[in-house]
Symmetry: C2
Subunit: 226 residues, 2 copies
DNA sequence: CGTGGCTTTGAAACATTTCAATCATCGTGG
DNA sequence: CCACGATGATTGAAATGTTTCAAAGCCACG
């Protein structure tokens, strides 16, 4: 983990324009103003499971993954966070999941307390509320995906989600097949097969295993069946 | 739906003592004070999917279920709510799921606005926050159950959860096998088989299909594998 | 006592996983 | 620059778990 500098360099996230789909609240730049800017190398841990959760994080560039392990070693992926996304806001004292850098990434970090001093309690409250609500919504959607969707539908939903977030024609998969599998509640082999299958029917096209483009949006949405 | 009376009869929930495991906040009796007390017959709808969500609900007696349907008719159960539980608090404008009375039940209902006038904004905010946090926690746990648990583990977890909430030796299942199945992401047949199987190995004992008792708590917890 | 709804059980079909092998990609060192 | 090994992805075949379809059992209710 590399600390670049703190409490200055207040430029907002450069790598990617703000997500168009999501309503960006006024608190969006709170962190940019007083946060500490840090970079993490691929696979580096940002925080660990069980650690104290009094910091708030925002992805500037790169992708972050939260995950936890069950007693018997099964991994669960909480979610993937993209530039502009806030993460690490817990409802309790400690982090229930660990966060890792999926790619090299830049993250703004701030203490809740420092934020309160800097921008006032209300705005911090509002930010925490927003982050929590978003967490709940993600969780619900994830749930829906897992309860009654087939392997194919899950993979289709996932790719559709990625495609919606990406701005360009070709979409990059920041995560490995294993990450996808753990997120979707499948095995890597099944994920791989479904990807191949979706490509076979002409819905998507993979240039490499980490890059694809949607060839038939309508069909993809049908297959996502949400 | 039967309206008994409103804005008086401020006795708190009589049927069951407050959940011991959960920290009961000071806002616990807010609703009892100014809420409207209503009864719903089994299978009656309390609110519908898409309806405006400016009311807050608390179960006094009976059990409530939230559910929604996907486009192709698959039902998803959100959760089951027991006496003392708050439900119907949404993060957006409308209810994402419908709520139905699983059994005959009594529910306290209040307008958010009325609550604010009666007890002040902070306490209402606190209650909404608590309800949202609990929702998120339930959702996460539910997720964990679905991602990487076998049918047997899911059913074991579910029975374990019920047993923990119940105070007596024998536990009543308020919900049908279909409800369990939709909650656990399984079919009724599979649920039934797993129940039989758990009984076969002596972990639980079913007196009827709606009543059971735990015979081997340790084994049940092992099988729940959470 | 019979009917209807829910639950259980059985057998076959199906989807996904597991195990195993092959294939690609990429960085390293000769 | 190419061969090499390492890592991750794909593919195949068999095994497994869950679902589907079908039938029987149970219980409550009229």
């Amino acid at each position: 983990m590399t600390l670049i500098h703190a409490f200055d360099d207040v430029r907002p996230a450069p790598t990617r324009p703000a997500q168009p789909a999501r309503p960006v609240a006024a608190n969006d730049d709170i962190l940019a103003g007083i946060g500490v800017r840090m970079t993490f190398a691929k696979d580096e841990e940002i925080y660990g499971q069980g650690e104290d959760a009094d910091l708030v994080y925002r992805v500037v560039s790169g992708v972050v993954r939260t995950s936890s392990f069950t007693a018997d070693g099964r991994r669960q992926i909480g979610d993937f966070y993209y530039p502009g996304d806030t993460f690490g806001v817990e409802t309790g004292e400690a982090h229930l999941m660990a966060a890792e850098a999926l790619t090299d990434c830049v993250v703004m970090i701030a203490k809740r307390k420092a934020l309160r001093l800097a921008v006032g309690d209300e705005r911090v409250q509002a930010m925490i509320w927003d982050a929590t609500v978003r967490e709940l919504e993600r969780s619900r959607e994830h749930l829906l995906l897992l309860v009654r969707k087939t392997a194919c539908e899950r993979v289709a939903s996932f790719l559709k989600g990625l495609a919606e977030r990406a701005e360009g024609e070709t979409v990059e998969l920041a995560m490995s097949r294993q990450d996808m599998a753990d997120y979707l509640g499948l095995t890597i082999e099944t994920v791989s097969r479904m990807v191949t299958q979706l490509q076979g029917v002409g819905v998507v096209e993979f240039k490499s295993c980490r890059h694809f483009r949607v060839r038939d949006r309508a069909a993809l949405e049908t297959m996502a069946a949400s």
